[in-house]
Each structure stands twice: as C-alpha cells, then as structure tokens.
Amino acid sequence: MAEHTATHSAAADLPWWLQPAATVTILTAFGLYAIWAALQGHGYVAPYLSPFYSPPVTIAGIPISPAWWVLWGPFGFRATCYYYRKAYYRSYFLDPVACMIPESRRRYGGETAWPFIVNNVHRYFLYVAIIVLAFLWRDTVETFFPGGHFAVHAGSLLFLVNVVLLSGYTFGCHAFRHVAGGNLDCFSCARGGRLRYGLWQRVTALNQRHAQWAWASLFSVALADVYVRLLMAGAMPDPRLF
C-alpha cells in the first residue's frame, strides 16, 4: 500500500539469518539421511524394527524398499504441519526469511495457490500419522519382550523415548486440537462437550510446545534408526539394563 521513504526494512537485531540457516541445515540433513536409510531396503534387527520401516509393507511384484510405502505418511504429516510450514516458509522460501526483512519474490500466493494450497489437507496426514504411530507403539512394546520375556535394553528405552516424543508431537497437532474441541463454539451445549473440553485443554497444553516436540521427535526418530543400523552392522552391543 504505502511506499514512502520513511521506512527501510532493516531489522536491527542481528543475526536474523542464524535461525533460518540452522533450520535449512538440520532439515536438509535429516531429509538426506531419511532417503539414504530408505534406500538401504531393510531396517530390522531383532527385536528392533526401524521407525522408517514400520509398519513393514511389501507388495509382491514391486521391488522397492518397504520404507517408501510408509515414509510418505510421516513425511506428508511433517511437510504440512503448521510448525514446519512456518520453518520452511521462512528458511527455504525466505517468505519472510525473518520479520521486517525485505523479500525479493514478486508473486506471492501464500496458501491460496499450488503447491501450498495442499497444506489445507493436513488433517488427512494426521489420520495416517496416527495409524503409523499405533504401529510404532506396538514395535516399542515388542522391544521389551525379546524372545518372549520381559527385559529392558538400552534400545528399548530409546524406542520408548522416541514413541513418546512422536506421540507428543502427533497429539499436539493443530488439526487434532481442532477436532478434539477447537471446532466447537460452545462446549457447554455440545454433545460430550465436557469431555471434549478436557481433551481440548490437554491437546492445547501439548500444542503450546509443538515446535519443541517437532524437533525432539525428529532427532529421536533419526537416532532410533541409527541405533538399529549400528546393531545391524554389529558395531555396538545393546546393553541390557534390567
């Protein structure tokens, strides 16, 4: 609207580029690692199934890594997540790279145009992610029963931490907050309103730390896969704790 000589769009607090640079570095590194792990074609050593390969899906006649049948779900979930959207709009698309920093892109459609309009279906990726999460919980429980007897190994604890972090991330999702109760205008008059109000409050508590859950679970999922691969390579033992 107004173009006057009064304002130069230069923020004083530097370095504004630090956060976007860190985001690009970490997300790119994670993406490359995930592709590499998926290309390996396997990710299991008893009793640990890599989270990149769970649930294990193979379709006869299609010789691709089972990871590809799974990864699109969690990938889509994160790619359309409101928090990651903020992170990548800022750091990959510089839209804006930081507040009050000028942008060079002339055409801007935001989330009204392809491809980012797709982000409006985030809820469907949430549904897929919840299914995947259920399998990850099953896998985690199984790691506590190697050979049919209860035992606690370092790996099972790592898997437990990972699945807890993933649950905190998944159930703190804005789309989940919406279906849990955010879509109600009147809790006191809706069917099951009290229950949904309680649920909405709990989801809100998780949601307030959504960014932290997002990063922590990203690291933990990569760490769980690294752990499985190190065990597969025989590079380290899996110490029993109890």
Partner: protein, 277 residues
Amino acid sequence: MSDGGSRGTAVEARPEQARWEAAPPGPRAVATFQVFRGDRTGGELRAYQVPVTEGMVVLDAIHYIQHHLDSTLACRWNCKAAKCGSCSAEVNGRPRLMCKTRVDEFGGQPITVRPIKVFPLIKDLVTDVSWNYRVNKEIPPFAPAPGDAGPWRMHPEDVERLFEFRRCIECFLCQDVCHVLREHRGTDRYYGPRFMVRIAALEMHPKDTASREELLHGKGGIGYCNITKCCEEVCPEHITITDNAIIPLKERVADAFYDPWRALLRRLRGRKEPRGT
C-alpha cells in the same frame, strides 16, 4: 475490544514541560534519536540529542523534541500507558509502542524512530490507518440468534478462549510487520492479523450465529497468511495471534472448503453440518 473510530489526532506539540523543567540540574546522559521527518513526498532522518531521565520511554523523547528542539514534529499518542494503541512506530527497525519502549534498553546506541510502513504517511510519525476501519466494517458483527437478546449465563469454558482476543488495543503493529501486507502489499487481498483476531473472537463466541468462513476464504484472504508468526512476535498484548486465532480459523476454513469427507457429509445430510460434529 475497540471497534476503531476516534483516535488521538496528529499533534504538533503538547505542553508537558513540567516534567522536564523539574529534572535536576547537572550533567545528564544524552541519547541520540534519529527521527523520520517528512511526508508522502519524501523525507529524511534527523538527529536530535535528548537528555535521558530515569525510566524514560521513546515517547518521552519524542515529547522532549517537540517541546525543546522542534515543535513541528508530528506524532500520535493518547494514553502513554500502552492501552490506546496510538503511538505505534518502528523503533530501531522493530514495530513497537513508543510509550512502552524504554530508552535504556538500547544501551546508549542511537535510536531510530520511523513511522509504521504499511499505511500511508501523513507527516513524520503519523500514518493514515483508516484502511483498518474500513476492513472492520466489512466483518459481520456479533449476531445472536433472533429472539435471544440476553442477558446470558456464560460458562467459563465457553468464553475463556475469547479473553485474550479482547485484549487487542488496535495498535496495528501486527499489520505493520505482516509480510503479506508489508512486502507483498496485500491490503487488497488480506485483512491482516488484527482482523483475524477479531473474526476469531466472533466466530468462537458461543452466542454468535453468523458464519464468516466464506469471508475468510474470500475477501478476508486467510490463505495468504503463511503462519510465519511475525505478528505474534510484535503484539504488545502478547496475543497468541497465529496459534489461537489464525490456525483455528484456517482449520474451520478447511472444514468448509478443503475437506472432502465433510463436504460429502454435508451433501448427504442436505444441509450445513452443525459446528463441532
């Protein structure tokens, strides 16, 4: 929540000398202020040396300049208590309320004060924010059901979400920082974060029956917001603009326009589904 309307007008100078004259004599710290002087046709930063007093805020310095150095400097203010939202400006490149920005936080560095960029400049630090009042009029107001004029008994769980939205003082700092309005000059496409807050307060009100989803999706332009949260970072009332207003509204717009399952349900039921099913 204010609905706009009268605001302090652009003033050249206000007699507030008593405070300055009462300042103790002797050597005092002096801060350099670079203040924008000019109008729509052009302008420049002009430097002023202002003695620093304890607890001084940027608005005090602007008043000092008006009273002692240059009475033609224009600024808008009203309450000096961070409540009227009039004294918005860009202080060292950041949208701030001048009356809430302490001089000592800059540690002796020069302090640059410019008018907010998004709205047309009138003079010096005063901009024309009337676009916001026009947008406000386009939003359907609170609409209780016919015959349900109140008084109502409200349940805390139904209204607690709304309290933070009602803290808005209409300073328009969020509008100034929003890159859709600021960098992409999107005032013809997007209402801006302040009005997302207003619409959220109306849409989530348990007694409101109007629907503003069509407006949000169309002229309101919620799809242009890419939730990058600069608005939230500058809000002096600490309103969680994106997480609690814009994103919940985006989810409601997704219900209405982007969710094939909900569209099917609506079609099967032959009517608009009630909210929250």
